[in-house]
């Protein structure tokens, strides 16, 4: 099997680091890629479920641009919709009818949605959701989950990290996932100050197994928060439209007050949406929140095409089936080498961990060996399936995984 090398990627990184802080920053940063030499940093070509790095290496992409690519890169219906709108008008001085059409589509697809507000990135709308909740309740505090991720605004970051100050976290109370007793305790102590509870529909931290909601957890959260006069927000930025087209809350059977979407909404075009119930419509209207590119119409057209295609192709069901095939196949391959692969989260966006080494070093070595053979696996973050992945991709991935296990077994033993 061909083992990839990354000379051109490294040359681009050398250029990047001279003019860009970190060279490649944020979630594309090399920092969590261990071993870093197993990973490419730059690509300028992608199609369907694959991308090619600047060295020409071909990868079956299980990160899907960290979520946005849900129908596959260069999906013809999405690209056509975007190009048509872009050629007519993208940036403009007044709003596009496509924005209205997309809001109508979301209100049709998502049972909770009685209005929709659009922005560009996930954090735009998680921030907006908190502002709306504060406007609606007149309260300050937000309850969130330890290890939960809602973007990189200062209040969302890990306390103490660079660029944040203690006051940023003054009104954020973190509690463990699935812990109703902890929620009760916070409400008992701070109830009159709690504007909102915000969490992803299931717990998908990095570097840890993902955890589904316990039976009845979400409904209990909603009951307790509503009794307290507080708002329930689901951050569905990462999982939205991969588990259920009505929002991941429909997959689990509950209805929050607001849902934040982004990533998969427009198959790679920059867009996010906050949807909510009618009870919050006036408060959402009163909050001033905007950005220079939030009205660009091409992304609205792309989103309409993306969501329509996902619905027609039963996208979430297809990704679930593909994810189950991939993860069960990988578990079998691992077992054949005497390893235990733990799969957590949802099949359409699984998190995998080798249970044979709780330091993650074995896991990192295996993901690195898979990547340098053409299956782009990260070791710290859940993966993503798309409707563009094929059975053939999965078969090839299993062969790569088998080869990679042979390598790490010779290096690490068992």
């Amino acid at each position: 099997m061909n083992i990839y090398r990354y000379e051109e990627s490294n040359k681009w990184f050398d250029r990047a680091v001279k003019v860009i802080p970190c060279g490649v920053y944020g979630h594309f940063s090399p920092a969590p890629y261990a071993p870093v030499e197993a990973y490419p940093f730059f690509s300028n070509k992608a199609d369907a479920a694959r991308f090619w790095d600047v060295d020409g290496n071909e990868f079956i992409d299980y990160m899907c641009a960290y979520g946005p690519m849900v129908l596959g890169y260069n999906h013809p219906a999405v690209e056509a919709a975007f190009q048509e709108q872009h050629s007519l008008s993208d940036a403009n001085s007044v709003a596009s009818p496509r924005m209205v059409e997309l809001a109508e589509l979301l209100c049709d697809l998502v049972p909770v949605a009685e209005w929709a507000f659009f922005a560009r990135n996930g954090a735009d709308v998680t921030n907006l959701a908190v502002m709306v909740a504060r406007a609606a309740t007149g309260r300050d505090k937000v309850i969130a989950i330890k290890g939960g991720y809602h973007g990189t605004s200062p209040w969302m970051q890990a306390p103490g990290h660079h660029g944040t100050i203690a006051d940023d976290h003054q009104h954020v109370i973190r509690i463990p996932w699935n812990d109703l007793n902890a929620l009760d305790q916070v409400l008992a102590e701070h109830g009159s100050q709690v504007a909102a509870f915000m969490a992803s529909p299931y717990h998908h931290p990095i570097f840890e197994d993902n955890v589904l909601p316990a039976e009845g957890y979400w409904q209990a959260v909603i009951d307790k928060l509503h009794k307290n006069g507080s708002v329930v927000i689901v951050d569905d930025v990462r999982a939205g439209f991969r588990l259920h087209l009505g929002g991941s809350n429909e997959h689990y059977g509950f209805k929050p007050d607001m849902i934040a979407f982004s990533k998969a909404i427009a198959n790679g075009y920059a867009l996010s949406a906050l949807v909510g119930t009618d009870a919050l419509r006036l408060d959402a209207a009163k909050v001033f929140h905007t950005g220079s590119f939030w009205y660009c119409a091409g992304s609205f057209a792309a989103a309409i095409a993306c969501l329509t295609t996902l619905k027609a192709e039963k996208g979430p069901e297809r990704m679930r089936v593909l994810g189950e095939k991939l993860t069960s196949g990988l578990r079998d391959v691992a077992a054949g080498h005497g390893y235990t692969l733990v799969v957590s989260g949802e099949p359409a966006m699984p998190y995998l961990r080798l249970a044979d080494d709780d330091t993650l070093m074995l896991q990192q070595a295996w993901c690195g060996e898979c990547t340098r053979r053409g299956a782009f696996f990260t070791s710290h973050h859940n993966w993503f399936l798309s409707t563009a992945h094929t059975d053939g991709d999965i078969e090839k991935t299993l062969q790569i995984a088998d080869d990679a296990f042979k390598v790490i077994k010779s290096e690490f033993g068992h």
Binding site: G23, V24, P30, A31, P32, V36, H161, T359, H380
Partner: protein, 253 residues
């Protein structure tokens, strides 16, 4: 609070190196080979350390009830910090007959420590010098972590996010090594040398790379991408530790 933390860092991270120095520096080893003395430094209503010289070795104890042959007392954290900057003298409580030793022999050892930690600009930094300098800098850094977690405001905000686990810092290919064991409750213990079962590894490709980081002239993200700094295992432990280590220059120059 700042004075208190600075004093604890001076005692438990900087002066602690008196234990390590004779192990890695021939001149220091020669200096202490016949010393049979224990020196206690204590700050009123705060912390204390004991440097025990015996059989050509030094052992370090912190927060001990053991009395020293010589006992030096500081009225406050600021008093100790002033002494570290040569602007004050300690109050001897016992061992008056050995005060001469402190001013002559022991001063030679602390001067030697200062020589490596704050090298004169004209010193010739050969490989041996660099290795000793790096060993002491690494030791100072890891032993600062438990103190910072207790008293530094930023590190205290990091503390609840640190899961239990052991982080090993390695300068490849032959050391020095140090490791920190986090207890998962916001506390930590530091050690020089390799860890038995590290959960995370932060490794420098060679001493030159490590030295650049110590000097504050290395782009650490670029170094990670180039493999000059290698991260393995539970990377959040490394991530959080880096933030803690970044606080050291606020207290130690």
């Amino acid at each position: 609070m700042i004075d208190q933390l600075k004093a604890r860092l001076n005692l438990k991270a900087v002066l602690r190196n008196v234990e390590l120095l004779p192990e890695i520096d021939d001149l220091s080893r020669e200096l202490i080979k016949d010393w049979e003395i224990s020196i206690r430094l204590s700050i009123w209503r705060d912390t204390n350390i004991l440097l025990n010289f015996h059989n050509g070795r030094c052992t370090f104890l912190a927060d001990t009830i053991e009395k020293g042959t010589v006992s030096l007392f500081f009225c406050s954290a600021a008093h100790l910090n002033n002494m570290m900057e040569n602007n004050a003298s300690p109050l001897p409580l016992s061992g008056f007959t050995r005060l001469g030793f402190l001013k002559t022999e022991f001063s030679k050892l602390t001067s030697r420590l200062e020589y490596f930690l704050k090298p004169p600009s004209d010193v010739v930094q050969d490989d041996r010098f660099k290795m000793i300098n790096l060993s002491l800098a690494l030791s100072t850094a890891v032993f600062a972590i438990p103190e910072l977690l207790q008293l530094d405001p930023v590190s205290r905000r990091i503390a609840p996010q640190l899961s239990a686990g052991t982080l090993q810092l390695s300068v490849l290919p032959e050391g020095p090594y140090a490791h920190v064991i986090y207890d998962g409750k916001g506390g930590a213990k530091a050690f020089t040398g390799k860890a038995a079962h590290p959960d995370a590894l932060l490794s420098f490709r060679n001493p030159e790379i490590a030295q650049l980081l110590v000097d504050g002239t290395l782009d650490s993200f670029g170094a990670v991408a180039k493999g000059d700094i290698q991260l393995r295992g539970k990377i959040p432990l490394i991530d959080h530790t880096n933030v803690i280590l970044d606080q050291i220059p606020k207290y130690l120059q």
